[in-house]
Symmetry: C2
């Protein structure tokens, strides 16, 4: 909420707050009032009915979506992107958006047949990062890989099948990490359409990392090299 | 379950399986039978009543805990450890155990006043890694830092207050990452008792990373350097 008011105030339509929360979160409720947003005072019961959180924090907002297109992202000469294909778990999508933000990525790309970006669990698990960087949804994977290639952005499939590890490839040039579904990973046809297939090294006995962890490791490996 | 049978068979006391699961998981149910473990066939109703998972997978086991002491871990000349202080979320503890396993860490250390390692949600989120590396629980933090120091293991506090980033320190020598609580991080008295305070760099607008992500990044930064 605070991040929406701070970084995307033009998208905030209404704020609903309890008396107690208006005081506790004055740092962003007051600026929202000053910006002319509708700030409605509601009872705790009304707020609880509005939110599906188990422990609502006393404040809710109606925020416009910010539809961004792949073309707009590519027009900005991105250096670091992540493309999630068929991501199904809301916590994973939210966590990857947060990791991409932290790693300084330019945008997050999400394929069609993925979990809805606007679902409350996704929004919460981005911890505000949803309002920090563009997230493009509903993408067709083949067309996206072609557009990346056209724009000079290498597509790097992160998959255990990679013969080289993420640290053995050159991550300085612009690239997009392509991440698979939680259960079945990346199908062969997507892997072979990418410029390279790289694996996160597993040094112990773990069979794999989960999607959020693998994405975080890949994004930070890129940031380390690109910002060195 | 499979990981317990494979890597810690001496700790598996009983296996409870449905007929259907006995067939589906023959790869580890059969070895368990051959090893002389008690394999009980139960109905789906009984199994559901035994497990608290929303979608039980048709198999449950009673497994002995494997109490390991800090002294035993340090006697093995560890190069990479992680010490979780006051970790409260089961998913976080489980995910860090999995990340430590994947990064090839020697053990996971957990302070007193942390979530119970044997809670089902922790066990599940380790994805089998609980049976791959030692996890020492119930540790007093001050005494643990002293014992690490005595054993020549540097303690590196991972905290946003660090003046240097994790990539700016020398990670070749044996060390333990010291991670704080999800909500309040590392108190000043713990930070100052560590050899160094390092921060995970935040390149975008995200305020922070969650505990599991930060731990994963730190552990992989160490593995990259130590295994180069």
């Amino acid at each position: 909420m605070r991040e929406a008011v701070r970084w995307a105030p033009e998208r905030v339509r209404d704020l609903y707050v309890t008396d107690e929360a208006a005081e506790r979160y004055a740092e962003f409720v007051e600026p929202a009032r000053e910006q002319g947003r509708y700030v409605h005072t509601v009872s705790e019961e009304v707020l609880a009915a509005m939110c599906d959180a188990e422990t609502p924090q006393g404040v809710a907002a109606v925020v416009d979506q910010a539809p961004t297109t792949l073309a707009e992202v590519l027009a900005g000469s991105p250096r670091l992107l992540v493309l999630l294909t068929h991501v199904r778990d809301p916590g994973n999508l939210g966590t990857v958006v947060r990791a991409a933000d932290a790693a300084g990525a330019d945008a997050v790309l999400v394929s069609a047949a993925s979990v809805d970006l606007t679902s409350p669990k996704v929004v919460r698990s981005t911890a505000g990062s949803l309002f920090h960087l563009p997230v493009v949804t509903g993408l067709e994977i083949g067309a996206t890989l072609a557009a990346l290639s056209q724009a000079g952005v290498r597509s790097l499939a992160a998959d255990g099948a990679g013969s080289r590890t993420i640290d053995e490839s050159d991550l300085t040039a612009p690239h997009a990490w392509v991440m698979g579904n939680e259960a079945w990973g990346l199908p062969e046809e997507i892997r072979s359409a990418c410029d390279e297939v790289l694996r996160v090294p597993i040094h112990g006995r773990a069979e794999s990392l989960n999607l959020a962890m693998a994405s975080t490791i890949c994004l930070y490996a890129s940031a380390r090299v690109q910002r060195a």
